[in-house]
């Protein structure tokens, strides 16, 4: 899984993308994630797809939301309103 290192930790880009999801609000589009994580849009899309496969985010329409597994990976609570 490219977004996760062999030791189970997130890769730097995956962690930035996942942290950008951890904010109050419903969901984040790839464009919003790219801006907030300061990564190119293509990289945000690719990372979100990988994080979705890993179960850390979930696609909700055309946007993504942080899952409990994703929040746990960040060692952070799931944001309110999810």
């Amino acid at each position: 899984m490219p977004c996760v290192n062999a030791d189970g930790t997130l890769t730097p880009v995956a962690e930035r993308v996942l942290r950008s999801m951890h904010a109050p609000g419903a969901t984040r589009t790839p464009d919003e994630v790219a801006r907030e994580a300061a990564v190119p849009l293509y990289r945000a899309r690719a990372s979100l797809r990988e994080l979705d496969s890993a179960g850390f985010v979930a696609l909700d329409g055309s946007a993504y939301r942080l899952t409990p597994a994703g929040a746990a990976k960040l060692d952070a609570p799931v944001p309110a309103g999810r």
Binding site: P2, C3, L41, Y42, R43, R45, A46, S47, R49, E50
Partner: protein
């Protein structure tokens, strides 16, 4: 004497200008990437013959040098060769160690040649095992807008690639064409009129015309480069 059976001819298709770029999903040094991940951005997909080779190394350094300028123009870079991702990673690391250059763009590890074949990057007359130096400029709607093919022996000219991107974006933004040796800031060409009304309008508009079919005008090159143009086939077809 018994002849060996002829090797079946393998078809190597070529993309066509102003047609959709062949879609792909490929393993890269940045993970699995799809062509659709670049939707909304311009993309320069380029191939090189092999990792750890001299001309390719100079090209990767040169592509890295123009990457910031391309990013300002909403253009992403994506490299490709028929090498493994481990080879790509080792080569990029070597370039960083020896030349102090960090490769910022992903590189496709096209071991099964799927992308190379779809884009006609292999020229069997030159090499059956390596991709030639191909450049595909793909617009935000995944349309192939320009192609450049260089042989194995000749490194590419980055200034020409930048100029080509500027010309395409300017053509889209202003519905104009660009003359030979055009560079941003220089005069552009107004498409030839197709009706007598258009011809009369052109005469009255006061453009700089050598004759009715060859008219120039000045535009703000900086504004053209900053524009985020969207390709319209009608525009591309009207300008010749």
């Amino acid at each position: 004497m018994i002849s060996a059976p002829l090797e079946p001819t393998r078809a190597f298709g070529l993309p066509r200008l102003n047609e959709p770029a062949p879609p792909f999903e490929a393993v890269t040094t940045h993970g699995v990437i799809k062509l659709s991940d670049f939707a909304g951005s311009w993309l320069i997909l380029f191939s090189h013959p092999a990792d750890f080779t001299p001309v390719c190394t100079t090209e990767f350094v040169a592509f890295t040098e123009i990457a910031p300028k391309l990013r300002e123009k909403n253009v992403e870079l994506l490299g490709l060769s028929i090498d493994s991702v481990y080879s790509h990673l080792a080569w990029a690391r070597n370039i960083r160690e020896k030349l102090d250059v960090e490769i910022p763009f992903p590189i496709i590890a096209d071991l099964d040649r799927a992308v190379a074949t779809a884009y006609g990057m292999i020229m069997p007359g030159e090499s059956k095992t390596e991709t030639s130096r191909c450049v595909f400029i793909i617009d935000p709607k995944a349309i192939v807008r320009a192609m450049i093919y260089y042989p194995l022996t000749t490194g590419r000219n980055m200034q020409e690639i930048l100029r080509l991107v500027d010309a395409l974006q300017t053509a889209d933004a202003y519905q104009v064409a660009t003359p030979a040796n055009w560079e941003p800031g220089k005069k552009v060409i107004i498409p030839a009129p197709k009706t007598s009304d258009e011809l009369e309008q052109r005469v009255e508009a006061g453009f700089e015309c050598a004759d009715w079919y060859l008219c120039h005008k000045t535009i703000d090159g900086a504004a053209a480069a900053a524009a985020a143009p969207i390709h319209t086939p009608a525009t591309a077809m009207a300008v010749k």
